[in-house]
Amino acid sequence: MNPSGDLWRDIADHFSDGKAGPDAMVHRMTAPPTTETRDCDLLHESRTRPEAFAALFDRYSGMLYRYVSRRLGPEVAEDLVGETFLVAFDRRSRYDLSYPDARPWLFGIATKLVSRHHRTEAARYRALQRSPAEDTVENPEERVVAEVTALTSRPALASALAGLPSKDRDVLLLIAWGDLSYEEVARSLGIPVGTVRSRLSRARRKVRAALGDTNPMHEEERPWTT
């Protein structure tokens, strides 16, 4: 949990994953705030002045909504984001103030809450695996974006995500969709960085297998076969 020598290796890993450069735009989803007050200062203040906590909502509710909407869809996301902040508020006195950035902590809470909906999540990916893009793309602007990407990879990715054990999926998606570093994921989930690493590599191996396989219905990637 403490920023030891591992951190630098993690940062190096993080960038070697191609996160800098062309993909930098992806970071808009979770770009750190440019405001001057640090999260940890807000959290500290909120212990005596609860209203200060609302600023964290203003900073991160949109980001968490986007993340949760990816995993569970928009119907569940709104309530879950509200719930995340209520739980966070409840636990604010246990926050380790030596961490200035509260995002990993909030992502961790949201991820725990997402796991209560594991059936919804799995069903969502399974539906994406079966159906063409139109089923989930609601407006023309989104459709354009969807067409730009390789639509063919969609069933394979959905299939891989649906088939992952939830612990591995949490790690993979916190990194790929939450834009957290290994160290931050470890902090989020309360697990050692080494575990993050092993879960991530296991998950990526399966995703790669799904992508490399021209047949997304490959048995190995379909443990839910009926």
Partner: protein
């Protein structure tokens, strides 16, 4: 393209932008923050929504089934009937009946807030009974909608000037008849009657009913709600019913949506039980005595009116109630509040006026 990049692209496709209604979650948080400094009251805040929903469901049920039966006998006991709004009111174009229903929770009124009178309206509903009584529409009015509140008088008779404010402030300052007037002026719908149900009476009402029979698909053990129940068919008393309505973490998937569904199921069971009172005069009067403490109505809802409504609803299926919410968007001047989406709201209320819901 490497796997993580493809996954990120895929994620972007799946992503949704935060909707305007996310502002409500902020309000939910703020409601939870309003405790004494340094003393978190998360349980209360988390339950506020549950109470609101329970109040909603209780209110609907009361309006559709229970209240008519209750007030058949209990009207004499309703103290201080609420006066209907003075001045110009929308015309009554047809035989449909519109009832304004407020769910309040005096027990949960924030002790630290120190604003307004004790009770606060958690739930505001316009219940529409079609002229042929074949349809019941329940329109939920978000309590944090900003609205033009017309000039009212508070319950003591002191005049209150017109203003723009949160719609539930009309209740806090002017009581039920001020909310009534506000809703009529905003919607153009003639509201025939108004009813206020204080949900603090829930437990007592369930007990007075002799409990409510439910069938549980799996056993319940929720220490937070102090609830342990076996699987299967059983009768819940007031305490158990309250626990069942509130329980969250050990039932279903733990979400609010799950809980709302459970509450609606419970309320259907309650409606069924209340329906049986028609043939059990002893129980009915016990229930009336209890419920009468928690229900306030307008003077126009007299015995004959109630009897007529009760009779007209006898064949209405309580399971066929349709729920809608007034279309809203964030309030321009303060994104933490909501305002009605005028054209969509106009449409909705035109359907209510024309009885075409």
């Amino acid at each position: 393209m490497d796997d993580l990049r493809m996954l990120r692209r895929f994620g972007e496709e799946l992503e949704h932008e935060p909707p305007a209604t996310l502002a409500r979650q902020r309000q939910r948080l703020l409601d939870g923050l309003s405790g004494a400094p340094g003393r978190p009251r998360p349980r209360l805040s988390r339950w506020t929504l549950g109470w609101a929903m329970a109040g909603l469901a209780a209110g609907v049920t009361a309006a559709v089934l229970v209240a008519p039966s209750v007030l058949l006998e209990g009207l004499g006991r309703v103290a201080d009937p609420v006066p209907s709004p003075a001045g110009d009111r929308p015309a009554k174009p047809n035989g449909a009946l519109n009832v304004l229903l407020l769910g309040t929770d005096s027990r949960a009124a924030s002790p630290s807030a120190g604003r307004g009178p004790g009770a606060r309206s958690d739930t505001m509903l316009l219940v529409h009974l079609s002229a042929n009584r074949g349809k019941v529409g329940v329109i939920s009015i978000p309590r944090d909608s900003m609205a033009r509140i017309p000039a009212c008088a508070d319950p003591a008779g002191t005049p209150l000037p017109a203003r723009t404010d949160m719609i539930n402030s009309a209740f806090a300052t002017g009581g039920l008849s001020c909310v009534w007037k506000t809703v009529e002026s905003l919607t153009g719908v003639r509201v025939d009657h108004a009813l206020e149900v204080d949900f603090s009476g829930f437990k007592g009402m369930v007990n007075a009913l002799g409990g409510v029979e439910v069938t549980l698909p799996e056993p319940v053990n929720d220490p937070k709600a102090k609830l342990r129940l076996p699987k299967g068919k059983q009768t819940l008393n007031g305490d158990q019913a309250l626990g069942y309505m509130r329980a969250r973490y050990t039932l279903g998937d733990g979400s609010d949506l799950e809980r709302i569904k459970r509450q609606q199921r419970f309320m259907r069971a309650l409606a069924k039980q209340a329906g049986k009172l028609r043939t059990d005069p002893a129980r009915l009067s016990a229930f009336v005595a209890e419920a009468g403490k928690w229900i306030k109505t307008d003077a126009g809802l007299d015995l004959a009116t109630m009897q007529a409504i009760a009779r007209s609803l006898e064949r209405t299926d309580p399971g066929a109630v349709e729920f809608v919410t007034v279309p809203v968007r964030p309030y321009a001047a303060d994104p933490n509040r909501l305002e009605w989406d005028d054209s969509a709201a106009k449409n909705l209320f035109a359907r209510v006026r024309n009885d075409t819901m």
